[in-house]
């Protein structure tokens, strides 16, 4: 169709449209100047017009998911010297792909930086500077930035690809064990120390940006890159602050000048979250629950001056805490608790030995009171039982302290003998007490009281300390 013909068609269509429906055909024939084809065409258009119904009347609708997904790079796409493998992450501000750097044959995380207004030369330059600074950070806990690439007018940042899972996924399944939480925080702060030294502030530290590798080590990602997002934040309206306000220091949220202490704030939030499984400033919570950590509390002070002055200071505090946690753990771990019980068991053995030995003297007095064969028999019985019991107990005590490994065997051998000697000892004392009777009431009371005490000790107390010291299964 030539433009001239189209112009004539337009005139025919519009003219006929102004006519009542039944007269349109005639009108067209009259005005088509013998161009049958054109008249037909106009007629067809009129029919289409009349039957179009709501066609295009309502503006296009779009699914937000479609909008957000637009512009993504399919697997296999070549971007400069990178080949996209798959998408590995997506924030409000950009998509991160796993890609292969074809020049060096290594895998990289390729972040597609949101498009920037082309006229914004200053911002571009700033981004470049940031990426360059980030590339200078060298630390095992920092995912290295390899390159800032400008491909077809878009910016891409290539960095070390870290295989692992985000810290977020661990927090989601509940609080972390204290030692581990503090150790992870310390690793994050070690990364911060290196970054701050290189003049790079992370600005968007959050559990999503902390990866735990397969080997269990910590890698902080998005150094300097995250900042791209915060620059772009200003392009978005309120209510959709990009990045995560929950981890942003107050001064950052209100847009004041920020320094390295915003990262310290973020560490505080993350540490508290690791310890409690919950964001410290979760809705409905005025202050931090439990003394999750004095360190975390100091980190999340509103006034930056109230926080740790530097990542180095924070690291020192975390390392002290780590040493403390270890020391505290010493007394609470089951193994250690058992060794405390062992001490009581040893004490028990020693105390019983002393009491038995001491009781030989009152029993000697009792023998003199009772006199004759009976006195001798009682005394010898008690003395023999005491010697056996004390010897065995001292043997066990000595083995426990010096040859701990043999203790189980030693206890197994001694068990029957101690039981028998204890029983005979107690019975001997009772008999002595009864025979002394009214002649020396005080002596009788001592004999019988110690007998009862000894019986209680070997029947009740000793099994308890033994079980505590050696465990249920091992108690003999």
């Amino acid at each position: 169709m030539t433009p001239e013909r189209w112009e004539r068609l337009k005139i025919l269509f519009s003219g006929a449209l102004d006519q009542p429906a039944e007269r349109r055909h005639d009108w067209l024939t009259r005005h088509a100047d013998g161009d049958e084809l054109l008249a037909q065409e106009a007629g067809a258009l009129l029919v289409a017009h009349d039957t179009a119904g709501g066609f295009l009347e309502e503006p296009a609708v779009v699914d937000p998911a479609d909008l957000a997904a637009v512009d993504e790079l399919a697997s296999g796409t070549r971007i400069g010297s990178y080949e996209i493998e798959r998408e590995i992450g997506r924030g409000g501000m950009g998509v991160v792909y796993l890609a292969r750097d074809l020049r060096l044959g290594r895998r990289v995380a390729l972040k597609a930086v949101p498009r920037l207004h082309d006229s914004n030369v200053a911002l571009r330059e700033r981004l470049r500077r940031e990426a360059r600074a980030a590339a200078n950070i060298s630390h095992t806990a920092v995912a290295t930035v390899y390159a800032l690439e400008e491909i077809d007018g878009r910016l891409f940042i290539a960095s070390e690809y870290v295989e692992g899972h985000p810290l977020r996924s661990e927090i989601e399944s509940g609080p972390l064990e204290r030692t581990r939480a503090v150790a992870i925080a310390a690793d994050i702060v070690r990364a911060l120390c290196a970054a701050h030294e290189a003049g790079v502030i992370h600005r968007d530290l959050k559990p999503e940006n902390v990866l735990i590798t397969g080997a269990g080590t910590v890698k902080v990602v998005d150094f300097g890159i995250a900042h791209v997002d915060s620059i772009n934040t200003r392009l978005t309206a309120e209510g959709e602050v990009v990045g995560t306000p929950a981890y942003m220091a107050p001064e950052q949220l209100i847009g004041s000048a920020v320094d390295a202490r915003v990262d310290i704030y973020a560490v505080g939030v993350i540490l508290a979250e690791m310890l409690t499984g919950q964001h410290p400033l979760a809705p409905g919570r005025r202050s931090m629950a439990i003394p999750a950590s004095e360190i975390a509390r100091k980190c999340i002070q509103t006034d930056p001056n109230d926080r740790y002055r530097s990542a180095g200071d924070l690291l020192a505090a975390l390392e002290r805490e780590l040493a403390n946690v270890d020391a505290v753990a010493e007394t609470v771990t089951p193994a250690v608790r058992r060794s405390a019980a062992r001490w009581w068991w040893e004490f028990h053995q020693a105390a019983v030995s002393i009491v038995y030995a001491v009781m030989v003297w009152p029993t000697w007095l009792a023998r003199n009171v009772i006199g004759g064969q009976a006195g001798n028999a009682v005394f010898v019985t008690v003395l023999a039982a005491a010697i056996v019991a004390v010897t065995l107990r001292l043997h066990l005590w000595f083995t426990s302290r010096s040859y701990s490994a043999e203790l189980g065997w030693a206890r197994a051998r001694a068990a029957g003998w101690t039981l028998v000697s204890d029983a005979i000892f107690a019975m001997g004392l009772v008999v002595a007490g009864v025979l002394v009777g009214d002649a020396r009431p005080a002596l009788a009371v001592i004999e019988i009281a110690v007998a009862v005490a000894a019986a209680t000790a070997f029947a009740v107390i000793e099994p308890a300390t033994t079980r505590a010291a050696f465990g249920q299964t091992d108690s003999l």
Partner: protein, 180 residues
């Protein structure tokens, strides 16, 4: 000074639209669709608060936004079509499976193609369709943007719509018999 080159503003609008969409997704209203009008308005309000303001005026902005919307819809329709053919089987999102995002009756790809053909001999009509359908503008707003009278917009719109209706309904196989 003149208006900045639309090509340089396009990415900005494009990203703004995406950002708005991401916001909607975050607020979790699955399956909800947005009218072009609402989206474009929202994007305008956001970008208008920028300093320096990237756009000379609203008209300038809407023209670019409408074009962006068209491109986005076409790109997604193409991606979906490719996915259906098995081009990218590994990444079919849930919403794609559950929600038919194309409004019934309008094949975006066919419309886009027809619109491109229309633009070849009547760029003005094609632009009117773009502004009204993809930008969600009213007749009056379209007239304002194009600096023509609302009556003209109405007439041109009627014809373009009729022509597109025929063009879209003609199956691709019958392309030879397609209108004009």
């Amino acid at each position: 000074m003149g208006n900045p080159d639309p090509n340089s503003l396009m990415p900005l609008v494009y990203d703004e639209l995406r950002r708005i969409a991401a916001g909607y997704i975050r607020r979790e209203r699955p399956g909800q669709t947005l009218q072009a009008t609402a989206l474009v308005n929202e994007a305008f309000v956001r970008l208008a608060s920028e300093r320096p303001r990237p756009f000379a005026n609203r008209q300038h902005f809407v023209a670019i936004a409408a074009l962006s919307m068209r491109q986005i819809l076409v790109q997604r329709a193409r991606a979906r079509k490719a996915a259906k053919r098995g081009g990218a089987p590994d990444r079919v999102t849930l919403d794609e499976g559950l929600v038919s995002t194309e409004p019934p009756g309008v094949d975006v790809l066919a419309l886009d193609e027809a619109l491109t053909r229309l633009a070849a001999f009547d760029p003005a009509q094609a632009r009117i369709v773009e502004l009204r359908y993809f930008g969600g503008l009213t007749v009056e707003e379209t007239a304002e943007v194009m600096e023509i009278s609302p009556a003209t917009v109405k007439r041109q719109w009627a014809m373009a719509r009729a022509w597109l209706k025929r063009a879209v309904e003609t199956a691709p196989d019958d392309r030879a018999d397609a209108p004009l």
